[in-house]
Symmetry: C2
Subunit: 413 residues, 2 copies
Amino acid sequence: MSASQPDLPEPAHPELDSMLSRKFGKEVANYFSGSPLNRVSFLRTDHPFLSLALKHPSTSFLLFKNMEPLVKSSTQLTYVSYKDVQPIIGEDPYAKSEEDLIKEYNSATYIPQLVFLGLDERKKESFQYKNHYQGAPFFALDITPKGPITSAAETLISNMESKGCSFLPGRMHLSLPATEAAIYAASRHLLDWNARNPFCATCGHPTLSVNAGFKRTCPPADLAPSLSSPDAPPARPPCATRTGISNLSFPRTDPTVIMAVVSSCGTKLLLGRQKRWPPLWYSTLAGFLEPAESVEEAVRREVWEESGIHLGRVVVHSTQPWPYPANLMIGAIGQAIPGGEEIHLGHDAELEDARWFGVEEIREALRVGTSGLGDAPGPEYKEGGLRLPPQTAIANQLMAAVIGGFLGAEPKI
Amino acid sequence: MSASQPDLPEPAHPELDSMLSRKFGKEVANYFSGSPLNRVSFLRTDHPFLSLALKHPSTSFLLFKNMEPLVKSSTQLTYVSYKDVQPIIGEDPYAKSEEDLIKEYNSATYIPQLVFLGLDERKKESFQYKNHYQGAPFFALDITPKGPITSAAETLISNMESKGCSFLPGRMHLSLPATEAAIYAASRHLLDWNARNPFCATCGHPTLSVNAGFKRTCPPADLAPSLSSPDAPPARPPCATRTGISNLSFPRTDPTVIMAVVSSCGTKLLLGRQKRWPPLWYSTLAGFLEPAESVEEAVRREVWEESGIHLGRVVVHSTQPWPYPANLMIGAIGQAIPGGEEIHLGHDAELEDARWFGVEEIREALRVGTSGLGDAPGPEYKEGGLRLPPQTAIANQLMAAVIGGFLGAEPKI
């Protein structure tokens, strides 16, 4: 993140005085969540709907080149219209049904990846479908110059660059407002998943993007000429992903756990650091959830593996989508058991250091010492002080929750 | 599940009087969690460790044929020893380093899938490594008769069957005790992931199992003779999964959301049913989390798509690993906003019915009307009454939490 701190998303219905809110407090909405779009996921197979949405004058296309978004600046995405992208995607990639597209499948044809993101319901007047669904349509499109789209893509890229737009490299430089960050996150996650999975992991053959970018299917035949047997019929061997529903056909999201660890007495927080981070920069521990673990078990395992500390009770605090490339961060708070607080870094060699910090030191660092990894801390930061991740990181929200009130019933914290 | 209700796992440290326990209550440990094994994940690349663990007399191997586990009965897994599996796996598949195995990679060689699950620390005396890690080792092994292992696998299968053991088909028939269920869940999830992903989704070439079954790597060369170019060198084209870390190399777990939906007044719960379920059988709504959604957003989207109901505040309750094939169920409780409670099944056609049920009707059904999908309800069940999933389903735990005290501060529920 750049030094200018982007805003966090508003929780849904913050004003709502529900039982759950009274009992558990306001929902914490983390950066990259808070999308203004209704995904209307059940319309992704409705190709007449997709055609109408694609060509509507209110429709916005977010462009990517090598997974970098087109922006006006680091704080503002830019969008183009159907007439801008038409030379790249053709008249209407949704003109035919998926059934027909699968029948005509030819793996030698390059199709630029297009993803339908949803309808922006803040603009209900702009587009309507079947009297039920309304809002301005949003799509993401990969225009990396490649194969048959090279020339059309380069022309559009030049046009946009001449208007002062650019593709922003590197996630560290984005400081988008919350709603834009959520649109960017969905776009990046879906385009990356499609780009990373051109082949079927079960049979090794090329796959076809369907469901408006939310599914990849393994067609039973391929019209592309085969090098090894040019006269062979187009049929391919059977594949298990074609019988029943296979998770491999759908986008992958990797659950990760990230946790604020409180000492058994409730006066200290455990933080760790990786070698590549700036000096004095610490954060909460984190890691991937493994097969057949509950979130609570994954939190206890990761904390023990990385720091040697034994946790008792674990509570989920909030969650954050993280599109680099495909994570769901599940934020938790855990408390060490009495006698289980000795730090041992020798199990797994991931951390350079892990240490217990007093509540007051963390409170002060949250006030003056936060920044993105590549940025300087604020003006009040004093040399030698603890440095922490910015507000847009769920790690920061977890620490703030512990310090500021998640454990509010307890006088010590 | 069979009619005999298996036990649920004990929460970790149930006796612990931590701040988190006092504030949030006891942790809910769902079925398939609660593993007694320490995964010591950082030792999966330590091949001398794996060799020692493999051959130790205290080591247990859980066998699978076509994803079905070897059991003594529906309530008891059975294990075999190193000498039983040695004819199938060979003297020591961990004798060489991963580096060497990758160099010698030949995709034409069939290697039965072996997974190291962890150390059972309840038996600390049995096996020790480096004075730090101790417990009886557990492995899972796929002995489906296939290729070169056919004969040895068939011999072992006959031996076990003559002792009264069998491979239990179908997940509905398992009623394992909690700790056994957790071992089975990890085994099934890992074996299934390996079996489903023999090819690299990025380049389409066959991959090799490494990290004791927890990683698949795309070797840069393959000694197998190629049909299309028998004299070609064994090098394969570059693949993005070989540079840096790729999530595709690691097991996939799909986050799903499952939620108890409370009415805005707090007196009713929303349940739905699928057409294929027995009459009068209802459950909580559920669905897959999508890319770039927080858990809270996924809950609200799924509930609106399936039932038309608008939710405000959403709170995570507990989580459950679900190895069919690879889910993490994230259990939540959400409350409808005033005016957002009208049921509309027309968005997505997934449910046959969805309906608001009063708290008393659900309380009674939790007492007398629960069972597995294929089983009969208990003896006190009265014809025509509501039927619900068993205690081992997180859906049941969510309903019980709402009825019995998760909203305990509120007199109405």
